[in-house]
């Protein structure tokens, strides 16, 4: 389950934020916000994707740059709401 979630998120980030010809690798630890891959503006669409995909609602106060800074952080955030 966790592996599937991880793959879905990584695939989305690659498709949505990297250029087609980019050879950048995204792993679960890659810094997304502080590494400059996802800016704070684009984070909104990432949040929306997660909400739609996993049928959850992430409150704005939880959608911090830290919470979105890596796939692992995102997984922790998503799991919190999937199970609640």
């Amino acid at each position: 389950m966790a592996e599937d979630l991880k793959r879905v998120i990584i695939d989305y980030i690659k498709k949505e934020y990297l250029d087609e010809d980019s050879d950048e690798e995204i792993t679960e630890d890659t810094k997304l916000i502080s590494g400059g891959i996802v800016d704070s503006f684009s984070m909104v669409s990432l949040k929306m994707f997660l909400e739609k995909k996993f049928h959850i609602k992430i409150p704005d106060e939880k959608a911090t740059p830290e919470a979105f800074d890596s796939v692992n952080n995102i997984l922790t955030l998503v799991k919190e709401f999937v199970h609640s």
Partner: protein, 415 residues
């Protein structure tokens, strides 16, 4: 008054963290009008010195143009200094109406409403037009003021990869269920000087029944054969539903902005845009001077033509000198250095050579894309540009980057 010790120390810590992360912005004191050559006191307390200014938005060199100054003086005498009112109480003079009409004629739109700035035009526009059933689809590199404006609006926010039309189309398909869709872009992107593909955007907008909004702050007055802006440059005059732009760059450079476009959109802004309703009117001096600017630009394209040839000349010469730039046609010329420290050191050394420029780095530009942003003006003469190119070559030689491209510079300095 309860400025408690812990409050004060919290603010002080915030400032400290801005400094330690290298993001503290220093202001430099200029003791002359805005022009190609300015007198600057830098660092603070140093003897003022004259330098060539390569970082103003004074694209057409009209900020201190004698005819513009004279019009401002006349405006001051005939309409006063301030109006002490918002527009709809007692802050609308005949010249405000006239400027709105002239801007509509110049931009080729149905109607225009003035705002205190383009920042405020962007802050007000989206909330007025869209609601939660609608979608805003913005280029990922739009200006911060558009991002702020979109945050104030309840519509769903989507964004597409910078200037990537296939990605924009995906977003348009994804949002088919929304009531209204709005494509939002800068006409010219301020950090790269690249131009939005407005022709392709308009085709997609038509295909998917979407509105198009363009912030043309870095284009109004000089892009396009008659200087009307990005929509003229891309051959889509009359097809943009709303243009937001500033009077604070090429069009005199003092203050003010506007929303210009479809009649109903403009009228709704006049009725409902909060930054318009609750801000003071644009000062008569600014209005009078901007009327003169539009008269000058309608009379002759000489200034935008000179800007175009200055830009072409500088881009050719700086490339010949071996400096790595982002290619393009816009007077924003990004000098690519990739490394933040190198960009700052380079700018400091250029200042020592009498060239005033500023280094930009993350988070203002993406990580690993640090640069110096040069902005060319119609006020520059060839001798200014030659001196600037020579200074770039000298400093470039010092840092051993002449003739080197991205990978080689990053190998030397890191990204």
């Amino acid at each position: 008054m309860a400025y408690a010790e812990n409050t004060k120390s919290h603010f002080a810590d915030e400032l400290k963290s801005i400094r330690t992360s290298g993001l503290y912005k220093e202001e430099r004191y200029i003791g002359s009008p805005q022009a190609a050559r300015i007198t600057v006191e830098y660092p603070e307390g140093a003897a003022p010195r004259e330098v060539i200014n390569l970082c103003a938005n004074n694209y057409l060199g009209l900020s201190s143009h004698p005819e513009v100054l004279e019009a401002a003086r006349k405006g001051l005498e005939s309409r006063g200094f301030g109006l002490s009112s918002v527009r709809f109480i007692c802050g609308t003079q005949d010249i405000h109406r006239e400027l709105e009409q002239r801007l509509s004629e110049f931009l080729g739109t149905e109607d225009t409403v003035l705002f205190p700035s383009c920042m405020e035009a962007n802050a007000g526009l989206f909330e007025v037009l869209l609601d939660k059933d609608d979608a805003m689809i913005a280029d990922r590199l739009v200006h911060a003021s558009i991002v702020d404006g979109m945050r104030l609006c309840k519509a769903q926010l989507y964004n597409y990869k910078h200037s990537n039309m296939a990605h924009l189309e995906e977003k348009l398909q994804e949002t088919q269920g929304c009531r209204f869709r709005m494509i939002i872009t800068d006409g010219v992107f301020s950090m790269d000087g690249d131009i939005a593909k407005l022709d392709e955007i308009c085709v997609l907008a038509e295909k998917y029944n979407a509105l198009v909004v363009v912030d043309d702050s870095h284009a109004s007055g000089f892009l396009g054969k008659r200087g009307r802006g990005t929509h003229e440059h891309c051959g889509v005059l009359g097809k943009i539903d709303a243009i937001t732009t500033t009077l604070g760059k090429a069009l005199g450079g003092a203050a003010g902005g506007c929303v210009s476009g479809r009649k109903e959109i403009v009228e709704l802004c006049r009725q409902r845009a909060r930054p318009y309703l609750f801000s003071n009117t644009v000062p008569p001096v600014v209005v009078a001077a901007t009327l003169k600017v539009l008269e000058l630009l309608s009379r002759s394209t000489e200034r935008r033509d000179k800007l175009e040839s200055n830009t072409k000349y500088f881009r050719e010469q700086i490339t010949k000198a071996g400096i790595d730039i982002r290619e393009g046609v816009h007077p924003i010329v990004p000098i690519m250095l990739y490394n933040a420290k190198l960009a700052q050191d380079f700018a400091r050394d250029l200042y020592a050579e009498g060239i005033y420029v500023v280094g930009f780095f993350f988070p203002v530009v993406p990580q690993g894309q640090a640069r110096i942003r040069v902005q060319i003006s119609a006020d520059h003469e060839r001798q200014h540009l030659d001196k600037a190119v020579a200074a770039f070559a000298k400093v470039g030689a010092k840092y051993n980057i002449l003739g080197k491209k991205k990978d080689e510079i990053i190998t030397l300095y890191g990204a």
